[in-house]
C-alpha cells in the first residue's frame, strides 16, 4: 500500500460474527523490525485480529497488507511471510518434538538438509534438543510453548505473531522467553507482533503498543508516548484513564471463568 517501511498495514478492519462486532473498524501500521504489542482485556478482539491477519478468518470489511501481500487474495505468499504461536496449544501430542518440526518444515518446503540443521539449531536455542525424540504429550506447558516458538521460526518468517505467548507460564519461563524473542528481533530483524493482557509485558518488551478494548483501538503509540499523553506514571494508569476501567476487571473469557470457578472451588474446600 502506502509506505515501504510498513510490513503490516491495516485499514478499517472489521469482523462481525452474525450481529456481534468482535473487531470494530481498526487501523494501524507496524514498521519493519519493530516489536509491536496489542494490549487489551480478554474478549477485546486481539485473537480475532490475528486470525484475520494470518488468513484463518475472513474480514467482514477492511484492508490488510502483510509483507506487501493481501492475505485474502494472496494467501500462500502471505502465509510464507509469517510464523505464528497461537494462543491455544497447536502441537500434535502423539508426535515427537522433532517430528512436529519436520512436519512444519515439509509444509513450508524447507529443503531437507537445511531443515535438519535449522531444527538442531532452533531446538538447542529453546533448550529442547535433549528431548527431541520424546513425544510432545510428555512435555510441560512451558516446553510446549518453547517448541511452538521454535516451530514458528523454522521457515525464517519475516513477521512473527505471538498470541498471548506467556499465558499460563511461570515468571522464570516468561522472562526467559522474552529474552529469546528480543534477541531474535535484534539479531534477525524479525518483526514481532504479540498480544498480551499483561501490561508489564507490553511496557517492558514492546516498542509500540496499541490498546484494544471492545473491538476498538482506543490508543496507540510508544509506551512512553502513551504515558505522556495521559499524564500518568505507568502504562497501567494510562490504560485506566483511556478505557475507564482496569484491565483485569474485564469480563473473563469462558475458559478463564471456568478456571476462576475451579480455583475458588478449590480454595473453598
Amino acid at each position: 500500500m502506502d509506505n515501504n517501511n510498513h510490513i503490516i498495514e491495516v485499514k478499517n478492519l472489521t469482523k462481525r460474527f452474525s450481529s456481534f462486532t468482535a473487531v470494530d473498524d481498526i487501523s494501524f501500521n507496524v514498521e519493519k523490525g519493530d516489536i509491536f504489542a496489542f494490549l487489551g482485556p480478554n474478549g477485546a478482539g486481539k485473537t480475532t485480529t490475528i486470525k484475520m491477519l494470518t488468513t484463518l478468518l475472513f474480514p467482514t470489511e477492511g484492508k490488510i497488507s502483510l509483507n506487501g501481500y493481501n492475505p485474502m487474495s494472496q494467501k500462500d505468499e502471505a502465509r510464507r511471510s509469517f510464523g505464528i504461536v497461537f494462543q491455544d496449544p497447536s502441537l500434535d501430542d502423539e508426535l515427537t518434538a522433532r517430528e512436529n518440526l519436520e512436519f512444519h518444515g515439509v509444509l513450508y518446503k524447507v529443503p531437507g538438509r537445511l531443515m535438519n540443521s535449522r531444527i538442531e539449531e532452533l531446538m538447542k536455542f529453546v533448550e529442547l534438543w535433549e528431548r527431541r525424540d520424546h513425544l510432545v504429550k510428555t512435555f510441560s506447558g512451558g516446553m510446549k510453548r518453547r517448541l511452538e516458538i521454535a516451530r514458528g521460526l523454522l521457515h525464517h518468517p519475516k513477521i512473527f505473531f505471538l498470541d498471548e505467548p506467556t499465558q499460563g507460564l511461570d515468571p522464570q519461563t516468561r522472562n526467559h522467553m522474552w529474552e529469546y524473542i528480543e534477541n531474535l528481533n535484534k539479531k534477525e530483524h524479525i518483526t514481532v507482533f504479540f498480544t498480551t493482557h499483561y501490561i508489564e509485558e507490553a511496557e517492558k518488551v514492546a516498542r509500540r503498543v496499541a490498546i484494544m478494548d471492545h473491538g476498538k483501538i482506543v490508543a496507540q503509540g510508544t509506551p512512553d508516548g502513551l504515558k505522556e499523553k495521559t499524564g500518568k506514571q505507568t502504562l497501567e494508569d494510562a490504560f485506566l484513564s483511556l478505557t475507564g476501567h482496569g484491565i483485569r476487571d474485564e469480563e473473563a473469557s469462558g475458559v478463564d471463568r471456568m478456571r476462576q470457578h475451579r480455583a475458588m472451588w478449590r480454595r473453598g474446600r
Binding site: 488468513t55 496449544p89 497447536s90 502441537l91 500434535d92 508426535l95 512444519h104 509444509l107 513450508y108 516451530r151
Partner: protein
C-alpha cells in the same frame, strides 16, 4: 507431493503408536465372525445357501474398513479441539493437498485394518478361491476406505466438537453397515428393504468384495466398481470443498 506424503505419514504414525486402538478395533469384527458366523452357519446351510462364513467374511471386512475410515475422517474434530488443525491451515499449501494427504492416510490405516480381519477370518475357516482374487479385493478395499474417509472428513468439517458423535454412530454408521447386505443375502428380501439397500453405498462395497473373494455377486462386478468409483470421486470433491471452508 511432499505435503500429501507428510500428512499421510502422520496418520500412519499416529495409528501404529496407539496399539490399544488397533487391538480394540479388532474386537468387534472378531465377535461378529464368531457369534454370527458360527451361530447362523447351520441355519444358512439348511436353507441351501452354503457356508455362512464364506458369505459373511466380505461383509465383516467391509465393516472394519467402514468404521476405521469414518473415524479417521472424523479425527479432524480432535485436531480442531487439540489445536493442531490451525497449524496445518496457516501453512502455505493448498487445502486440497491437505485433504488428500489426510484421506490417503486414513484410508491406508483402514485397509490395513481390513487386511488384519482378512487374516483372522482365515483362522475362522474362510477359504480364498485363489491368489488372483487378491487384486480385485484390494481395489474394493481401497474404494471403500477412500470413500468413507472422505465422508468422515466432510462430516467433521461441519462439526464443532464431538457432541454429534453419538448421532453419527447411531444414525449413519450403524445403518450404513446393517442395511448393506453385509449380514444377509439380498436375493428375495422385501422390496422396501431392497430399495433402501440400493441407496447404501456400502452395499456396493460389500457386494464387490463378495464378488472378488467368493465369486458371487448381487449387483454385478461392473456395477459395483462403477458406482463406488463415481461416489468416491464425488465425496472426495465434497470433502475437499467442505474442508476448504473450515474457519477456526
Amino acid at each position: 507431493m511432499s505435503t500429501v506424503y507428510i500428512l499421510w505419514l502422520r496418520q500412519i504414525k499416529r495409528y501404529f503408536r496407539s496399539r490399544s486402538r488397533i487391538v480394540g478395533s479388532l474386537g468387534q469384527p472378531i465377535l461378529f465372525l464368531v457369534a454370527l458366523g458360527f451361530g447362523f452357519g447351520p441355519v444358512f446351510r439348511r436353507a441351501g445357501q452354503g457356508s455362512y462364513i464364506q458369505f459373511l467374511v466380505p461383509g465383516i471386512i467391509a465393516m472394519s474398513i467402514l468404521f476405521t475410515s469414518i473415524f479417521s475422517g472424523i479425527e479432524i474434530i480432535w485436531d480442531r479441539q487439540f489445536g493442531f488443525l490451525k497449524e496445518t491451515l496457516v501453512a502455505p499449501v493448498s487445502r486440497l493437498e491437505i485433504m488428500v494427504g489426510r484421506t490417503l492416510g486414513g484410508a491406508t490405516v483402514a485397509i490395513f485394518q481390513g487386511v488384519i480381519v482378512f487374516f483372522i477370518s482365515l483362522f475362522a475357516g474362510f477359504r480364498l478361491p485363489g491368489v488372483h482374487a487378491l487384486i480385485p479385493t484390494f481395489v474394493f478395499m481401497l474404494l471403500i476406505a477412500v470413500l468413507f474417509t472422505a465422508l468422515g472428513t466432510a462430516i467433521a468439517s461441519k462439526l464443532e466438537d464431538m457432541q454429534g458423535f453419538q448421532l453419527i454412530m447411531n444414525f449413519l454408521i450403524m445403518p450404513l453397515f446393517f442395511l448393506s447386505g453385509a449380514l444377509f443375502p439380498l436375493d428375495g428380501v422385501p422390496t422396501v428393504l431392497a430399495t433402501i439397500v440400493r441407496f447404501d453405498p456400502l452395499s456396493y462395497g460389500v457386494d464387490g468384495l463378495r464378488s472378488a473373494l467368493v465369486g458371487t455377486s448381487h449387483f454385478g462386478f461392473t456395477v459395483d466398481l462403477t458406482i463406488l468409483s463415481v461416489l468416491t470421486f464425488f465425496l472426495l470433491i465434497l470433502g475437499s470443498y467442505l474442508f476448504s471452508k473450515i474457519e477456526i
